[in-house]
């Protein structure tokens, strides 16, 4: 239940020619726009009304209404509430105009909606599957699509209790080779990877602009390449050593997190969000519970103490993530493992705190609707104080001294992978990537959630938009996070850590909600549609690791092939979140 951020009449004034209506379904908000006029609408929205940042694009399959809906969330890059708008199309013929010409940041997200939901985006320059492969049958997020190990539409499954004697393994029920369905007329043996050819050919056809004969070659970086931080592929067209064109290929780690999420109950999803960006599970928890709490309303309002614990945990996560990012980035630069391990030492100490509180170092599963899972055990508060008042500031200064003015670091990273502020906004870049390009946009400030408006901290931004600035932004953000934790520890009250009795079956009223937090990697959003049942009807993750890659080609073009590695490193992706 998003709060209304506009009055309909005011908005309508801007769109004389275009039919728009308010979404009047219960629990919904935003505008429903005439499909044919969507591009005009977006143009006015962006250029006249200043909603220049398209945060999220996703589709929802309303099977009972025989309708597909595409949902957009746009923001002003100066901060404030979202403008949410939708288009609705019939399920048999889901065609929607593409918004890539207005918001280039929609590029990957529209491809994802095509891939997973089968919504066609008319006018998209490169509408092909992005997470699944060409030999995949169907569009998995459609409600009538069933996975190979399909058992029931929603958990809990009836076979587990009270007659859970016949323990069956999914792989026995549907053994290897029988668990794959191919599209009609598709023979994997005869299949010629057309997509790949097209990919390569598309790269070859680039015009050369001088007479000097330099050979163009196409190189696959990845998917098995240590510097890609996971299974991730970059297809680059090189002229000499210069990158002419680059295209990221992903999906190797895809597991359809969102489909799993729609089978799960609301509570079950919390541990699953841990596995998105597995370096910052606390932040993922935060974004998800925030979205669900928006739907649940007052009865899930977190207690005071829980709010403080949440902020502390989220900021510790940011510190540990940025330490990791800086460490791996230095590895990419060739500073083999020394800075990485120095950074990891501090991360270990933070994870000790997570382990003592949440029970696990990485898969924390700590947030609950209306609070957190348990209070800080004895000794943890003191440990936190030791870290943020003593050790971390010391160690960050040391890291700073050790790296920031190192000539090799500077030569390698200054002026590399540049993204201008306009480009960064247009490509929907988020987090340190956006801020290093001179756009001081931080969800904690732009649209404060939790209790972030109580703390004094700076939104770190820098102006060059290069790899070096992204490193500096992260370093400075660690310092700001330390400041926030210091304040939070001083102010934290005693009291209950959860609102009401912990419940395993929460009642979530019908409606939709978009909850977003400033995750360490950027804006992490969760779009949830509830139909009042115990399982979400739609569960979508706006993954910063995924969307930040939209700008990767732009950043790499014109740089050397060796630099693509550090540019990718400077975006700081985690494939668990990219591929979902």
């Amino acid at each position: 239940m998003a709060t209304k951020s506009f009055s309909i009449d005011e908005v309508k004034e801007n769109f004389q020619e275009i039919n728009i209506e308010e979404d009047e379904r219960k629990g919904y908000s935003g505008l429903i726009v005439e499909t044919d006029k969507l591009v005009d609408f977006a143009n006015i929205l962006k250029n006249k009304m200043g909603f220049d940042y398209l945060s999220s694009v996703t589709g929802v399959d309303y099977l009972p209404d025989n309708m597909m809906e595409v949902v957009y969330h746009a923001y002003k890059s100066t901060g404030g509430k979202p403008m949410e708008f939708k288009v609705q199309v019939p399920r048999e013929k889901p065609v929607v105009p593409s918004l890539v010409s207005v918001y280039p940041g929609a590029g990957f997200q529209e491809r994802e909606a095509w891939d997973l939901l089968g919504i066609k985006f008319d006018g998209h320059p490169n509408l092909k599957r992005i997470l699944m492969w060409e030999g995949f049958a169907g569009h998995p997020l459609r409600k009538d699509w069933h996975e190979a190990y399909y058992e029931e539409d929603a958990k809990p499954y009836k076979s587990r209790w009270p007659n859970g004697r016949d323990v069956h393994l999914a792989e026995d029920r549907n053994p290897y080779k029988k668990n794959v369905v191919y599209p009609k007329d598709f023979d994997p043996d005869k299949w010629n990877p057309e997509g790949e050819d097209a990919l390569y050919l598309g790269m070859k056809s680039l015009q050369k602009d001088d007479d000097l004969k330099t050979e163009q070659i196409i190189v696959n970086l990845g998917p098995q390449h240590p510097s890609t931080h996971g299974v991730f592929r970059m297809v680059v067209n090189l002229e000499g050593e210069t990158v002419k064109k680059l295209e990221p290929v992903m999906g190797y780690l895809h597991r359809n997190h969102e489909k799993i999420g729609e089978r799960n109950t609301y509570l079950m999803n919390i541990p699953y969000t841990d596995r998105l960006d597995y370096l910052s599970s606390m932040s993922n928890n935060f974004g998800y519970v925030l979205a669900v709490e928006k739907l649940m309303g007052e009865k899930a309002k977190p207690t005071e103490r829980a709010e403080y614990i949440r902020v502390i945990m989220a900021e510790f996560t940011r510190i540990s993530n940025h330490l990791f990012a800086i460490g791996t980035f230095l590895n990419d630069l060739g500073a083999y493992f020394t800075p990485m391990l120095y950074a990891l030492e501090e991360r270990e100490l933070i994870m000790d705190i997570f382990e003592a509180t949440a029970g696990s170092r990485i898969m924390c599963n700590y947030f609950r609707f209306g609070g957190v899972a348990r209070d800080l055990p004895p000794g943890v508060y003191e440990k936190m104080r030791d870290l943020v008042f003593d050790r971390l500031p010391r160690k960050i200064d040391e890291l700073d001294k050790y790296l920031t003015n190192n000539e090799l670091v500077r030569v390698r990273s200054e002026g590399i992978g540049v993204l201008t502020p306009e480009e960064a906004i247009a490509f929907s870049a988020a987090g340190p990537v956006l801020r290093a390009s001179g756009v001081p946009y931080d969800v904690r400030r732009a649209e404060p959630y939790g209790i972030y408006n109580r703390f004094d901290f700076k939104v770190v931004a820098r102006n060059h938009g290069d790899v070096y600035d992204r490193y500096l932004v992260r370093l400075e953000e660690i310092r700001q996070s330390i400041l926030i934790i210091q304040q939070a520890l001083d102010q934290m009250p005693d009291g209950p850590i959860i609102n009401g009795k912990p419940q395993y079956q929460v009642r979530v009223p019908a409606g939709e909600a978009y909850g977003r937090v400033e995750g360490p990697k950027g804006e992490l959003g969760f779009y949830i549609v509830s139909n009042g049942k115990p399982n979400p009807w739609r569960y979508h993750v706006r993954a910063p690791s995924f969307i930040n890659l939209t700008a990767l080609s732009k950043m790499c073009e014109g740089d050397k092939v060796a630099d693509t590695i550090i540019i990718l490193g400077s975006i700081d992706i985690v494939l668990g979140e990219t591929d979902r």
Partner: protein, 201 residues
């Protein structure tokens, strides 16, 4: 001067190297293979080598640490095992990966359910180690274990026999939780008894 940054950086690595030796000399043999030494290496004052030499040395796990679930039984005066689980099925319902399988016992004569599980399976390979089962069990019957050395070549499915552990074991790995829960259980039992008495009267 060009190269100053590099020299300064090298100075820091050198300092770290020297610190390792200083710390080693200061702590002597105590630094390794003792609880005290490990605690020092995990503290804010840790300097020098950070690494713990697993498996010779092991980091002590905190009380809240969770790995896989186990079932609790109590022992009565006659030495009989009494399982706490009532086969209510809540853990199977909250389990996100649906890896808990429970068969409820039925009274052979009446066919009515008896509050004891006839069988209880957990597919350990599918378990997310999330701890939700332990968190929401209303009878404190399923708890998260500390033992993390479970690597095996086979598919691991535990049955009830394998899952059952005595309450004393639970008290030893989670003393604080145990104490708190025992208090709550005693209180609940007292209330129940009082009610019973009232009803009799």
């Amino acid at each position: 001067m060009y190269g100053k940054g590099i020299v300064k950086g090298l100075g820091i690595t050198l300092k770290r190297l020297i610190e390792t030796y200083i710390d080693d000399i200061k702590w002597g043999k105590k630094r390794y293979n003792t609880d005290e030494g490990i605690a020092h290496r995990m503290s804010k004052d840790a300097r020098g080598i950070f690494t713990v030499q697993y498996p010779e040395e092991k980091i002590p796990v905190p009380e809240e640490f969770r790995f896989i679930p186990f079932l609790i039984y109590e022992v009565d005066e006659n030495g009989e095992k009494i399982e706490r689980c009532t086969s209510c099925g809540i853990c199977a319902k909250v389990c996100p990966s649906q890896c808990i399988w429970i068969e409820r016992t039925k009274d052979p004569k009446t066919g009515r359910p008896v509050p004891v599980p006839a069988e209880f399976y957990i597919d350990i390979d599918m378990c997310l180690n999330c701890g939700l089962c332990a968190e929401y069990c209303p009878f404190d019957a399923i708890k998260m274990d500390h033992d993390y050395e479970l690597a095996s070549y086979e598919r691991t499915i535990y049955n009830k026999e394998k899952l059952l552990k005595p309450v004393s074991y639970y008290a030893s790995i989670r003393p604080r939780n145990y104490e708190r829960e025992e208090k709550a259980r005693a209180k609940a039992a007292a209330i129940k008894n009082a009610r019973k008495k009232q009803n009799i009267r």
